[in-house]
């Protein structure tokens, strides 16, 4: 028996505008545990890229260390990739984004990589508004080192061996809103209908887009006393509403009752439409959103969906007032003034 996925696909498999099927966006066969939530997220990324007609070579996948950070090997095998030091993916992303503003930066990180060793980097990437999609595959556990609690694990939950978690969790989504991230969503790997439009929105968003995706670890954190298990999340999941991604040139067809829907224009002309479950929730108001998340938390719910969005803010490239042409494509003459200028400067110094 081999684990090579046969190359042939369904002869009637749908093709996108580029003439590609979703299988053209696949990577190697996953070596993560069977049933890992991360694989579902990979599949959702594949589906999003397929639907957005993205050319793989215009994407850079960046990651750190951890199960989550292995995942980029399992999708978009025609894209650029950089697997960095533990927790240092945001720095690499910042540098890469400055060097070539034309690529779509897709950072894939985990709760250990972002909420512990890399939390400083995480904060500053948001502060600087790096134009990227930052996906946290959040399973509340260190799966690669046999299931210790991570910093996002909930206070009341137990690990696989029955030990209590003694510390309160860090909520990366609310933290991101407070730090000024301009696109923040939470979702669940087991709910693709919600997840795919959110990833598509994040990819078309300009600025820092954070997706905190709860992604159950089937091996170490999917037991009855876990709060990041498939069953727990399915039971406690409360969506802020139904998000739809509306591509450029398409109209939103459904008409919603007044006050129940929000329409968000993304910078490339596509739209996100959110049909809210609660009139009081407003994803465009950071303060209200934070309160709402807290309220739901008190009720014991895990609030998912598009939590906050600001589609008019500046990103890092704009703030730094960088050239339209990516630095990586500028000719050396433009970047380097040459030896004559150097001699002049040296003369001044002598």
């Amino acid at each position: 028996m081999t684990f090579i996925k046969p190359l042939n696909h369904h002869p009637k498999l749908e093709k996108n505008n580029l003439g590609l099927t979703r299988r053209d966006y696949e990577g190697a066969v996953s070596s993560l545990c069977a049933g890992c939530g991360h694989d579902s997220i990979s599949a959702s990324i594949i589906e999003s890229c397929f639907k957005l007609n993205i050319e793989s070579y215009k994407v850079a996948k960046l990651s750190g260390i951890g199960c989550s950070s292995k995942a980029p090997a399992y999708f978009l095998d025609q894209s650029h990739g950089f697997n960095s030091v533990h927790g240092r993916m945001p720095s690499v992303a910042t540098g890469a984004s400055c060097a070539n503003r034309d690529l779509l930066y897709l950072g894939v990180s985990g709760d250990g990589d972002s909420a512990s060793i890399g939390i400083g980097q995480f904060i500053h990437a948001i502060r600087r508004q790096v134009n990227m999609v930052y996906i946290i595959e959040n399973n509340g556990t260190y799966g690669l080192t046999k299931g210790q609690f991570s910093a996002t694990n909930d206070l009341d939950s137990k690990n696989k061996y029955g030990d209590d978690n003694l510390f309160k969790p860090i909520d990366l989504a609310t933290m991101a809103i407070q730090l000024g991230a301009t696109y923040v969503a939470r979702s669940f790997s087991g709910d693709r209908e919600q997840l795919i439009p959110l990833i598509m929105g994040a990819m078309q968003h300009k600025g820092f887009a954070l997706l905190d995706i709860i992604s159950p670890c089937v091996t170490f954190n999917n037991h009855a006393s876990s709060t990041k298990s498939y069953d727990y999340i399915r039971e406690h999941n409360e969506a802020v509403g139904k998000t739809d991604f509306v591509p450029i040139g398409e109209e939103i067809k459904t008409s919603y009752e007044e006050g129940t829907s929000v329409e968000i224009n993304l910078h490339d002309g596509s739209k996100l439409s959110l049909e809210k479950t609660d009139k009081n929730f407003d994803p465009c108001d950071a303060g209200k959103s934070l309160n709402y998340i807290r309220e739901k938390e008190k009720e014991g719910k895990v609030l998912t969906g598009l939590l906050y969005v600001d589609s008019k803010s500046k990103d890092l490239i704009e703030t730094l007032n960088m050239t339209e042409t990516p630095l990586s494509q500028l000719h050396q003459d433009l970047i380097c003034p040459g030896s004559d200028v150097l001699n002049l400067i040296n003369k001044d110094l002598s």
Partner: protein, 670 residues
């Protein structure tokens, strides 16, 4: 790709098939079928809707229509019904004798040729013969034709089991030395009778075969030329049955049935459809010396009564017999041979591969050409034929051939007529209780093969007209069961159930008992003998068969459709791992709905209605797992990537029961 909903191809013709609603299956069976009479898909599509409508109208009950897409939501699939997974194994399901194709192909891949041969022998009796000349209903059904390009060369692999097998003596069933005292007469020494004998001899029956020629084999011997089926292959497989203890009476034409009824406990009629149709047009009687009935002429060649033919030969007819006639004529020395067919080329009845081989040998096929007159010279010798060109028109949705008025004359020395065969039972007395229905055909029970005379059973072409060898074998098995029941005074309706088993193939972590690394290669082409040699000799076999290397490569193309994906609702945590890994997007988790809507909503819509949907019970989220069986390549990756073992790969072995089932000593392959 065109929408082939409701359509399937059999021989060279498109048929319409409509599934029968579950509630009516007792009455109608699994599906209703009707031919469109078209070999061209585009034309078949024109008739499809009308035929579907007329077939569906049969489901009407008390004026109320029992629609196929009734508003009912899908129910959980009952996989305990052996028919469910049986239908997934397309080749085995399509084979009239239900030969377990994937199993023998795996045995070939393991170089266990003798086991592979015996597995075939048990279900189809003549693997060496069928491996050369079977009509292969399995190949158009082969899943590979849908998922890739062309079907696995199943028939040629069957031949490999014959060509490479070892000594099978010890595998053969034991024949009891003490007989059970029941005497069975088998009229006709063709495949149907031989199958009945093979099935009854190990049970202690005393079987006597009456053969009109001096050698047994029926049309297999007389009508299939040696260049397609060598005599030694025929003899080996035919005499193997005879040597199991049958009494063979050759040169024994039966001209009365009633004496046999007195002497024997039961009589099986396997006399085939031995009468070639004649063409009574102007000049037929005058020039009769050089006008031959195709099947009789082929018989004369087989028995070496005919050794030559004129230089210019016209063969009339578009079926396989016509192809055999023209190719034989070339080998007897004819220089100018042509085939004329009344219908358009696309509607010829011959198998695609036989038409191809005929054309490869340089024989022209002239279609829309209808015979009008035999021409002869003053001495009364045939010298040519007059034809009229035809054209096909459509009246009220039915196709009709109409003459165009254009006439052509071809010179010829001999004409071979291959325009069809008929049954003929002049030897059956009309007053002994065997009733005949339309077209003088005996009334035979579809299930039991029993005629209206309880002691007399029919099978093969003699039952319902010309079919082919594999159907004759299938009939033979059923007739043997009936005869055994009849002689044991058990109701004929009590048929033994098929023997089925569904066994997990998981051997350990990442270990499965079969190889899922399917070859992506194209179908391998069978090497042919040098044409310069084969066209000169009637006995040089044209197809050489796969050598071992090619056979092993071809075997790797099989998708192992008997390796079933079995889903356990309670274990599923809906992690979607199977959905992601499935290379052909068969697996879906979806809210329940009517079949029509579900088929439309799947990841890839399931438009092939011949293939089932595998539906789970309600899962935790309220959704259902729905798998479209159509494109599954049985790679087992769903089970490999399932964290909880909700998916398992289980081998579905399905063995059609015959009377031998319990007594045969073929090693069970675990």
């Amino acid at each position: 790709m065109e929408d082939k909903k409701y359509l399937f191809k059999r021989n060279n013709t498109w048929w319409v098939k409509v599934a029968v609603p579950k509630s009516l299956r007792n009455e109608f069976g699994f599906d209703l079928r009707q031919t469109t009479g078209e070999s061209d898909l585009e034309n078949a599509l024109k008739y499809r809707d009308k035929i579907v409508e007329s077939l569906k109208s049969k489901f009407k009950r008390d004026g109320r229509e029992l629609s196929l897409s009734s508003a009912k939501y899908l129910e959980k699939t009952d996989i305990s019904n052996p028919q469910y997974f049986h239908k997934v194994v397309d080749c085995q399901y399509a084979c009239p004798a239900h030969t377990n194709v994937p199993e023998y192909i795996r045995l070939i891949a393991q170089k266990k040729y003798t086991d592979a041969y015996m597995l075939n022998w048990e279900s189809n009796v003549f693997p060496g013969i069928l491996g050369r000349v079977c009509d292969r209903p399995c190949e158009p059904a082969c899943r590979r034709g849908r998922t890739h390009d062309k079907a696995v060369a199943i028939c040629r692999l069957k031949r490999v089991t014959y060509d490479h097998k070892g000594d099978i003596e010890s595998y053969l069933p034991e024949i009891p030395s003490e007989k059970n005292g029941k005497k069975i007469a088998l009229i006709g020494g063709g495949p149907a009778s031989l199958t009945v004998a093979r099935d009854l001899l190990p049970l202690g029956y005393d079987c006597t075969i009456f053969e009109k020629d001096h050698k047994p084999g029926g049309l297999m011997r007389t009508n299939i030329p040696s260049f397609r089926l060598p005599e030694d292959v025929l003899d080996e497989e035919i005499y193997r049955v005879v040597e199991m203890g049958a009494t063979l009476k050759t040169n024994s034409y039966i001209d009365k049935l009633s004496p046999l009824l007195k002497e024997f406990d039961s009589v099986f009629v396997g006399t085939g459809a031995p009468k070639g149709k004649d063409l009574n047009i102007i000049g037929r009687s005058k020039a009769s010396k050089n006008i031959h009935i195709g099947i009789d002429w082929l018989t004369s060649i087989a028995f070496e009564h005919v050794k030559k033919i004129g230089k210019k030969v016209i063969v009339i007819g578009g079926g396989n017999t016509a192809m055999d006639c023209c190719r034989s004529a070339i080998r007897l020395g004819a220089k100018d041979v042509k085939v004329t067919v009344r219908s358009p080329y696309s509607q010829m009845k011959a198998s695609e591969w036989e038409i191809e081989e005929t054309q490869e040998e340089g024989i022209p096929i002239l279609d829309n050409t209808s015979p009008k007159e035999f021409l002869y010279d003053d001495k009364g010798k045939l010298c040519g034929m007059k034809f009229e060109k035809m054209t096909q028109i459509e009246i009220d949705g039915r196709k009709k051939m109409r003459p165009t008025g254009e006439e052509i004359i071809f010179e010829c020395d001999d004409v071979l007529l291959a325009i069809g065969q008929e049954n003929a039972f002049p030897w059956i007395e009309k007053d002994i209780g065997i009733e005949f229905g339309d077209w003088e055909m005996p009334i035979v029970d579809k299930l039991t093969m029993q005629s209206t005379h309880p002691k007399v059973f029919f099978g093969g072409d003699s039952a319902w007209g010309p079919e082919n060898i594999i159907w004759a074998v299938a009939h033979g098995h059923q007739a043997a069961i009936s005869i055994d029941n009849f002689c044991s005074e058990i109701s004929l309706k009590e048929r033994p159930d098929p023997m089925t088993n569904l066994v997990s193939q998981k051997m350990g972590i990442h270990e499965w008992s079969y190889d899922n690394d399917i070859s992506q290669a194209q179908r391998y082409v069978v090497p042919h003998a040098e044409m310069s040699k084969s066209l000169k000799d009637l006995k040089t076999e044209v197809e050489l068969g796969f050598d071992e290397e090619m056979a092993l490569e071809e075997a790797q193309r099989c998708l192992n459709c008997d390796m079933q994906t079995v889903f356990e609702d309670d274990l599923c945590i809906e992690c979607d791992a199977c959905v992601d890994i499935c290379p052909t997007d068969c697996i879906n988790f979806i809210d329940n709905d009517t079949e029509e809507k579900i088929r439309d909503k799947l990841r890839v819509p399931a438009i092939n209605l011949d293939q089932s949907l595998y539906v789970s019970g309600k899962l935790k989220t309220g959704r259902r797992m729905v798998k479209d069986e159509d494109m599954c390549v049985h790679c087992g990756l769903c089970a490999e990537r399932c964290p909880t073992g909700a998916w398992d790969i289980k081998r579905n072995s399905y063995k059609e029961s015959n009377t031998l089932s319990k007594r045969i000593t073929t090693k069970e392959i675990a």
